[in-house]
Chain length 245, copies 2
Amino acid sequence: MTKVLQSDDPKANYLLAALSEEEITRLSAVLQPVSLKLGMVLYESGEQLQDVYFPTTAIVSLLYIMENGSTAEIGITGNDGVVGIALFMGGHTTPNRAVVQSGGTGYRLSSRALKAEFDQAGIFQKLLLLYTQALMTQISQTAVCNRLHPIEKQLCRWLLINQDLLQHNELIMTHELIANMLGVRREGVSIAAGDLQKKGLIKYVRGTMTMLDRAGLEAEVCECYEVVRNEYDRLLGPYVSKFRQ
Amino acid sequence: MTKVLQSDDPKANYLLAALSEEEITRLSAVLQPVSLKLGMVLYESGEQLQDVYFPTTAIVSLLYIMENGSTAEIGITGNDGVVGIALFMGGHTTPNRAVVQSGGTGYRLSSRALKAEFDQAGIFQKLLLLYTQALMTQISQTAVCNRLHPIEKQLCRWLLINQDLLQHNELIMTHELIANMLGVRREGVSIAAGDLQKKGLIKYVRGTMTMLDRAGLEAEVCECYEVVRNEYDRLLGPYVSKFRQ
DNA sequence: ACTTGTATGTGCGTTGTCGCTCATATAAAA
DNA sequence: TTTTATATGAGCGACAACGCACATACAAGT
């Protein structure tokens, strides 16, 4: 596999792109470009974090694992945020797992460097805290959505969120894996996906799913999608708006 | 209604109790004791927050309100935490409502005073961020619990959480209100509560519910309760352990 | 070409929760 | 005491999601 990192740039991550000149020069000395491969575990539930990650093209899923082994996604981070919040929040770990859901690139920052920069109390700190709040909204909305909305709506939401973070419309993902994310049965996903395909909104074959009609998906999705997106824009829009289309 | 505030003390709130001498003297000049009455709305969804609240005997519920009016609780704060996280996270507001679920007392801190103290980057800041992380765990677990566990288990969890924050075993709360918290039908709560009552774990009459057998409830509850509690203890235990029994 | 592994489709019966309606019981107000 | 409001109990049918079992279809390797 060839190194694709040269075409990348820290500014592909919205948070890094919004830093001051001073901060970005300080950080670029310690930011390490990394290839985040599909399935890679960035941190395990309960395990002390060593680094935070700023995805650029990769998408990382925050997964909750129950005692009986069933899983559910509580949040998704791409180039809109940072993975490893527990490091600057002070907990050093969290009871969830971070898994690369869509392979790509990102930047790694060591715990030490992160704390040093965080304690400068500049824009960096501000952005990290704002992103954390945005993530809380995402998690909250997931809680509510799980409670009140049918699988098909949730699948739409999940697809739209992923499309926002992807640079393209193709998702390498089986129904089985999606089911693990949504915390439902594989069959449930197959049926919902089958419906969406009949409606012409998506198409899929053996592990790849393509979003065909974004407007159509937005018409199907529950309010939860927009609430989270609007809140992200409200919180971070002033800093990153120029980078979102 | 008589003022009951004289018997109260900021140190009844775990976070305030864990501050340094210096911090607490600085803050006690600006902390205002307040009576938090049942049903009082501390902030509305989307409304700019003016103050944060440190409950002492009151319990505050973080409620999510859907477009169709249905509600669901995403978190609960009592004397273990602080209400109004959006103020120091930088968002100034959040898409949820904070309602007093159990009347009592607390301390109010103005936005200005909060920010001033937060920016001192002392224990106060550290505790607020740690509590925020604990709250994220609570919200995450709610998301997962909503997805995977039946109403009766969730009711057990909700009762235990409340008991932890109460100084007694009696909850002034109708099935209808509990249903709004859990985001389920009133009948669902009635049936679950009826079951628990048959098992002798609780008893209730018209708007008051009494926890009779804590060990029994702990035997019934899903893992979600303990995960959240353990994570709180892990994060804040070093600072507040002496104040929890 | 054939086998094997994996992805998706389909069809059960079961359960939990839903929305609805109405009955009953208790508390508060008149 | 009587009336009124509110809290809880109970009984429908409907439906979404469950767990399970198995069929089919496609892909990769031998």
